[in-house]
Symmetry: C2
Subunit: 325 residues, 2 copies
């Protein structure tokens, strides 16, 4: 590889998306009545219920992690991934999940793949106390190549009265707690697949201690339980865009974050990706979770014993809203 | 074409799907608490709200109609399609839409395609009184070919207390009213694309009176308004599986339907598909809406003036639950 890999070089252009999103935002905003509390931008949309409280909703995909699952012939974890990704998104709004629906599209239905996905989804739904309420299965020969598929998830949760997070309660000096990830979760796979494109999934790197395929397919963790039991002010699910892209989404204007890099353990897969792909530090932090699947902002007095403090909220004046030293 | 085309021959195997669905149904049912009123099967899942009433939810795709839109470079109608498909599904449960989310996945984001889709979705959302609350946009190089994309929709509506349909109120002798479709809507496109694979989209068939591409891309109609204003007992959205596959879904056990074929006007596109593809009558009725986008079951005394009565509910003893003569 002559040059270090980047996410854009791997075929994903987040900036182009952000530009067109600016263009269509007024159209989307025009569909929002007074019931819509939070629209596009944060991790979940909020919709006021007539009887009080809010519904929180989110749509997600698992991205090209699916290609690794197809190559490995192991799909159950992808079902877990999509549910937990969705659960985490609405948990950042203080919601408990009510129900989940899936969209599964493929070139030609492989019953075993479908059954594995349903197994993963139903197990994760049960764990989250969430009903798998429905779904759509589409056979689309001509769009999906034989063996290929895509899986999207939609979740709806309830934010009970008084449980809605108020980001404006966040102050400089608040503490940032990190919740450890299990590895890559579901983001950055277009880049990861480039980095390992010539490596068999069965390869055991000493630092991983298990086959590469298993490491890459480790399911996305759910943070529902800590977010339902801790007292906190804001939370950011670290997904596409990494720590740099996601942490600011839970902070009010004028505030930023300072993180202490050495305060958490980076799982070895990230070092391997950095080294093999010659990926820059900024690119790593702007793409991957780096070991923190969720970061939670809270008052210093609310930090539970044993929690991993990774930084603090600061007044934001520098060009970078998140500083990592 | 040596033989008549069928949906299975066009690469879609509905029976294989139904077999695997039987296999996973117990897993899905195990995720259902007492709040779940209707799970997989009908057009919408129902979830009881703590404060009374139910949420109705549905997930849908637009299938390979997307390939026609890509070939024609016209995507706005696909946005309309996905919203109206979702709106109709939950309208059969007596719901009014609250909010909609989309999942858009593509190989490389084309801002103009995305903007057109959002235009179609937001216009249809506004018409349905529904907020576009969020969505997921995924760039998945390696899954989607350059220029290809997929679009799924997810909708949540509210079934107010007392508005929940009771299929057990349906009696033999009830009247079936048909609501006209605008053409193919969003189903049967894998077959339609085979039928017209060697025909340019610009071709004007005399019976269509406009270019084939325009006819194929005519957007899916919304039946929200008639379903919100009429008094009725059951409704079937005629989507994948056609009239034969969908009408029984709104009928209780032991009841079937007898339809009078001459009672409604079949749009010319269906005759053209039948003729060019040498598609059998049963295949047509089991794949397409044939001119009826929604069928509604009601007491004879509730039929509004001007409504198109297309048949009646009968006791079901014959092997075919829907008889069309």
């Amino acid at each position: 590889m002559p040059e270090g890999l980047s996410y854009a070089a791997a075929g994903v252009d987040i900036e182009a998306y952000e530009r067109v999103l600016e263009r269509v935002k007024p159209l989307i905003a025009a569909t929002h009545g007074k019931e819509v509390a939070v629209g596009v931008g944060p991790f979940a949309g909020l919709y006021a219920l007539p009887g009080g409280g809010h519904l929180a909703a989110s749509a997600d995909g698992v991205g090209t992690k699916i290609k690794v699952a197809i190559a490995a012939g192991a799909h159950r974890g992808i079902g877990t991934d999509i549910v937990n990704h969705c659960v985490n998104d609405i948990a950042t709004a203080g919601a408990r999940p009510l129900f989940f629906l899936d969209y599964f599209a493929t070139g030609r239905l492989d019953p075993d793949v479908f059954a594995q996905l349903i197994e993963g989804m139903t197990a994760a739904c049960t764990k989250a106390g969430c009903a798998l309420l429905g779904g759509e299965t589409a056979e689309m020969p001509g769009v999906y190549a034989l063996g290929d598929y895509d899986l999207a998830g939609f979740i709806v949760g309830l934010v009970e009265v008084g449980r809605r997070q108020d980001p404006n309660a966040i102050r400089a000096g608040d503490v940032i707690v990190g919740l450890p990830s299990s590895g890559l979760h579901t983001n950055g796979f277009s880049l990861v697949r480039k980095v390992f494109e010539d490596v068999p999934l069965s390869k055991v790197y000493p630092e991983l201690g298990r086959p590469l395929g298993e490491e890459l397919l480790e399911p996305h963790l759910s943070y529902l339980e800590p977010l339902r039991t801790m007292r906190w002010k804001g939370a950011a699910h670290i997904t596409g865009g990494g720590i740099l892209g996601n942490l600011p989404r839970c902070l009010p204007e004028g505030l930023g974050a300072r993180l202490e890099r050495k305060s958490w353990v980076e799982p070895p897969i990230f070092g391997l990706v950095r080294k093999r792909g010659r990926v820059s530090n900024d690119e790593m932090l702007g793409t991957f979770n780096m070991g923190l699947g969720m970061v939670v902002v809270m008052d210093g007095s609310d930090v539970p014993s044993g929690a991993q403090v990774v930084g603090e909220v600061v007044r934001h004046s520098a060009p970078d809203r998140v500083m990592i030293r």
